[in-house]
């Protein structure tokens, strides 16, 4: 059960409405950006293997004003996640909306910061209200232990 944890990935609820994830990658921003902006590459890592989720389709037009659509297998059918790129600055930042669901969604900003040939990646989600983030947390809290166990199981399969 021992899980090798590393402190490389940091997650914090920065304010009532913000979730922030950071990690340092050993490559120039240009390369990390490429892995985020090319659909073929993106789909290789975005959905963890063994999480019980299959990414059926991944369309991304990563430029300001462009759109994306990710389609996942869900039960007998599928579930689509989609939105628009509000701002794309190559090798620096990508900002997109999350338009799934009935209500106003979160806005995600990913920045790629050059740190002497490495990249400090910051993944930032801004929710429309404290309530929206609270609800998201409450809704997912019930299933956490199972989810943690699943992730424990899948981590070794990803390593290497």
């Amino acid at each position: 059960m021992a899980l090798q944890t590393s402190d490389r990935t940091k997650v914090e609820r920065k304010t009532d409405r913000e979730l922030v994830v950071t990690r340092l990658f050993d490559a120039a921003p240009r390369i990390v950006f490429k892995a985020w902006s090319n659909a073929e590459l993106f789909r290789k890592w975005w959905v963890p293997k063994g999480a019980g989720i299959t990414l059926l389709n991944c369309e991304m037009d990563v430029r300001t004003g462009g759109k994306y659509k990710l389609e996942f297998a869900h039960g007998d059918g599928s579930m689509a996640f989609y939105g628009k790129y509000l701002d794309v600055t190559p090798n620096e930042r990508i900002v997109w909306t999350n338009d799934e669901g009935d209500e106003e969604g979160a806005v995600t900003t990913v920045t790629f910061e050059d740190k002497g040939g490495k990249t400090l990646l910051t993944f930032h989600e801004l929710y429309p209200s404290k309530q929206a983030l609270d609800e998201a947390m409450e809704g997912s809290a019930a299933g956490l232990p199972t989810q943690l166990d699943q992730l424990d199981e899948l981590l070794p399969t990803i390593g290497g």
Binding site: S6, R8, T9, K10, V11, E12, R13, L19, V21, R23, F25, D26, A27, I31, V32, K34, A35, K44, W45, W46, V47, P48, K49, A51, G52, I53, Y68, L70, F72, H74, F81, Y82, G83, W96, N98, E100, G101, G105, T108, F123, E125, M137, G139, S140, A141, A142, G143, L144, P145, T146, Q147, L148, Q150, L151, D152, L154, L155, I158, G159, G160
Partner: protein
């Protein structure tokens, strides 16, 4: 593409979670969890507080207990309820779940990045 929604999907794909969702789908049961978040309580006092019969409250507590949200313990003639591991510090657990999800994701991304770096070094004219 938001984390939250993806997390929901991860959870929804596991049968054990159906229990949790069923447990949380009821106003009284959510109220009981909130109450236990403030202090442990006996089934009798919970029944009083939510204006229910003892039998009715026992049923609700049993549902919460099956879902791992509540733990009960009988001391003498009194059965005391407290939050189970799942009900404790939900926010900290939520953050940790996110960290693990991203860790898994970014470890995979690391491999892709390494491949891209190698490609560049081997054949700079390819791109």
């Amino acid at each position: 593409m938001s984390q939250i929604t993806l997390n929901h999907m991860v959870q929804l794909s596991t049968p054990a979670l159906d229990l949790s969702f069923a447990a949380l789908s009821d106003t009284t049961r959510r109220g009981v969890l909130e109450q236990l978040g403030r202090a442990d309580a006996s089934i009798t006092s919970l029944a009083d507080r939510f204006h229910m019969t003892l039998t009715g409250m026992k049923k609700h507590v049993a549902v919460l207990e099956r879902a791992g949200l509540v733990v009960t313990e009988k001391i003498g003639r009194v059965r005391t309820c407290r939050l189970g591991r799942r009900g404790l510090d939900a926010e900290a657990a939520w953050i940790e779940a996110h960290r693990k999800l991203f860790e898994a994701r970014f470890d995979a991304l690391d491999k892709i990045i390494l491949e891209l770096k190698r490609e560049e070094e081997d054949g700079p004219a390819n791109e």
